[in-house]
């Protein structure tokens, strides 16, 4: 087993997902001067995609654009990737913890007799060994885990957790590989992709909620929150005060007499934080409070707070997040 890192780039609709730069960054930590970082790109558009990661100090990019592997299939990609892993013999194989990564990784790990760490939020090298941090119990705790023995490790890493790699001088060898896989041998085939219907999730199911209180002053001002929410793919919520004042529909009400919500991120804008409201969103993973009043009770429950006028803060927040996307 070498000390190398093999990075798998996910290609969807001919585009290479940007998480690969984060994987390269993680790869650099793991090799820390000793091993090399290679990449594998499989699928239609792989050759063009290779140029996206040329100039990141990779040793080799293997491109597979076989007709049989033009679109993702578990078995096709797993067979191909496993072959490449066996010949390259890396210590670590990095993938994004995406639908593809999770699906592919678990099939490949069985083929290569390795170990897999799923959905990691951080990866580092300690004493020449990989230490991966990952959430367990639905994110209530974290563990740091390391492989034992000379076995290859597949590590899937959650997007937007490891900072993306910066480009470096030098070019990378790009090699084409023919997988030799017969499409007829693939037993689960994707026939089409159905885009998700538009519209926001229901507030009781949303992962992200941006909520407004009476400080919104008018129903039309909820537009400010909607822009932010849509960027984050979330739902809009409201306090009872806002609903009673007619600024929002009761369906959006979060709280004792409204809905109990449990998002990963709850942004309370101009909400004072009365107990009835808190009862509805208390279990949110991360609570951000924006309020003009530094004594507002919501700040006692929030994880992060900004004392300020929501009409100033929220638009700036929207812009900052746009920059991230």
């Amino acid at each position: 087993m070498t000390k190398d890192v093999l990075v798998f780039g996910e290609i969807r609709n001919g585009k290479l997902k940007k998480v690969i730069k984060e994987l390269i960054s993680a790869g650099r930590r793991l090799t820390s001067g000793e091993g090399a970082i290679d990449a594998v790109l499989i699928g239609e558009g792989a050759k063009d995609a290779a140029s996206d990661i040329d100039g990141y100090g990779l040793r080799k990019i293997t491109v597979v654009e076989d007709e049989a592997l033009k679109d993702y299939s578990t078995e096709g990609y797993a067979d191909c990737l496993s072959d490449l892993i066996r010949s390259a013999d890396p210590a670590y194989v990095l993938m994004g913890a995406t639908a593809m990564g999770r699906d592919l990784g678990s099939r490949v790990v069985a083929k290569i007799d390795g170990v897999m760490f799923s959905d990691c939020v951080d990866v580092n090298a300690e004493d020449g060994r990989c230490v991966a941090r990952r959430p367990v119990y639905s994110g209530k705790l974290f563990i740091e885990i390391t492989p034992q023995g000379e076995i290859p490790s597949i590590i899937t890493i959650r997007p937007n957790n490891v900072p993306p790699a910066e480009s470096v001088d030098g070019s990378t060898e790009i090699v084409t590989h023919a997988s030799g896989i017969d499409r007829g041998s693939i037993r689960a085939i994707v026939s089409e992709i159905l885009p998700l219907a538009g519209g926001r999730p229901d507030v009781s199911e949303a992962d992200v909620i941006v909520s407004g209180g009476r400080a919104l002053k008018d129903a039309s001002n909820f537009k400010i929150l909607e822009e932010l929410t849509d960027l984050l793919g979330g739902a809009v919520g409201a306090s009872r005060a806002a609903v009673d004042a007619g600024y929002a529909d009761h369906a959006l009400q979060v709280g004792q007499t409204g809905k109990i919500v449990n998002p990963k991120l709850y942004i309370a804008c101009g909400i004072s934080g009365a107990i009835q409201h808190l009862a509805g969103m208390r279990t949110s993973k991360v609570i951000v409070a924006i309020n003009k009043d530094s004594n507002a009770p919501i700040f006692e429950k929030a994880h992060y707070g900004i004392v300020g006028d929501l009409f100033e803060v929220v638009p700036i927040l929207t812009e900052e997040i746009k920059k991230l996307m």
Partner: protein, 263 residues
């Protein structure tokens, strides 16, 4: 049709999870253990399929777990599953996905199967690997994160929708196959009172590692947990301040991204 459903006993999602005294796991006293919520979708889909196909179709629950898991198996039987295999062995302590997949695959092979349903992940270790490893061991196709399921007219294939970023993939797979189930696939039924009474008489076949032909625990020892870490303390609210509001917001975004990891 012989339908297999995988079941795992896990702490209730509403339970308070704390690290134990030794720092090598979670504190288990006082925690309620339930059927892994994603496995409930698997059980329900298995029951729906059995009732659709009819004949002598059967839903068999396969659970690898401690003795206490019988109560969760019994609940699955109360929901309507026909019988169960409970793999229980003192040597199996907190098995990883490779061990679980290897041992359960053997039990499933012994049972015979046409299709296997499981949850997309277990909410304790959140590894989501058992289905992929098992599919490789059994040499069958896998479809993960299914939100829609249909048996083809000739009952030789399954047609599914699988959730990916921004949409769903429509997949057709040849049977036998393993399907992992996602929320939204169906609405799991309650264990009805008649079901609870019938469950008493349903068979649970207990198997040790030896019964399945294993001399010792397969697939163990490939990883080691170095540390268990709690979430950073709730405590004080981190007030983000700066001269300019725009700087404060920028800092907030940075914190949300790098520290809280929610962006």
């Amino acid at each position: 049709m012989k339908i297999i459903v995988l079941l795992k006993r896990v702490p209730d999602t509403e339970a308070k999870i704390l690290i134990n005294q030794n720092g090598d796991g979670i504190r288990e006293e006082g925690i309620k253990f339930v059927i892994n919520p994603y496995d409930e979708y698997a059980i329900e889909e298995g029951l729906l399929l059995r009732d659709k196909v009819g004949g002598d179709s059967k839903v068999t629950v396969v659970c690898m777990g401690a003795e206490e898991a019988t109560e969760n198996i019994r609940t699955a039987l109360a929901m309507g599953a026909d019988d169960a295999v409970h793999i229980c062995d003192p040597a199996l302590k907190k098995p990883g996905p490779l061990t679980s997949a290897t041992v359960m695959a053997k039990a499933i092979k012994d049972e015979g199967y046409d299709i296997i349903f499981c949850g997309k992940q277990a909410i304790d270790d959140d590894m989501a690997q058992v289905q992929g490893i098992m599919a490789e061991i059994l040499d069958i196709p896998q479809v993960n994160v299914a939100v829609k399921f249909e048996l083809s007219d000739d009952a030789q294939n399954v047609i599914l929708q699988r959730r990916i970023e921004g949409g769903d993939e429509k997949i057709e797979a040849r049977l036998p196959a393993i399907i992992s189930c996602e929320k939204g696939l169906n609405e799991p039924r309650y264990a009805s009172l008649p079901g609870i009474m019938k469950a008493k008489k349903k068979e649970i076949r207990t198997k040790s590692l030896a019964d399945l032909g294993f001399d010792d625990v397969p697939g163990g020892g490939k990883s080691r947990i170095l540390k268990w870490l709690p979430l950073p303390k709730g405590g004080e609210c981190r007030m983000v301040e700066a001269e300019e509001i725009s700087d404060a917001v920028g800092e907030l975004v940075r914190l949300l991204r790098e520290e809280a990891k929610v962006l």
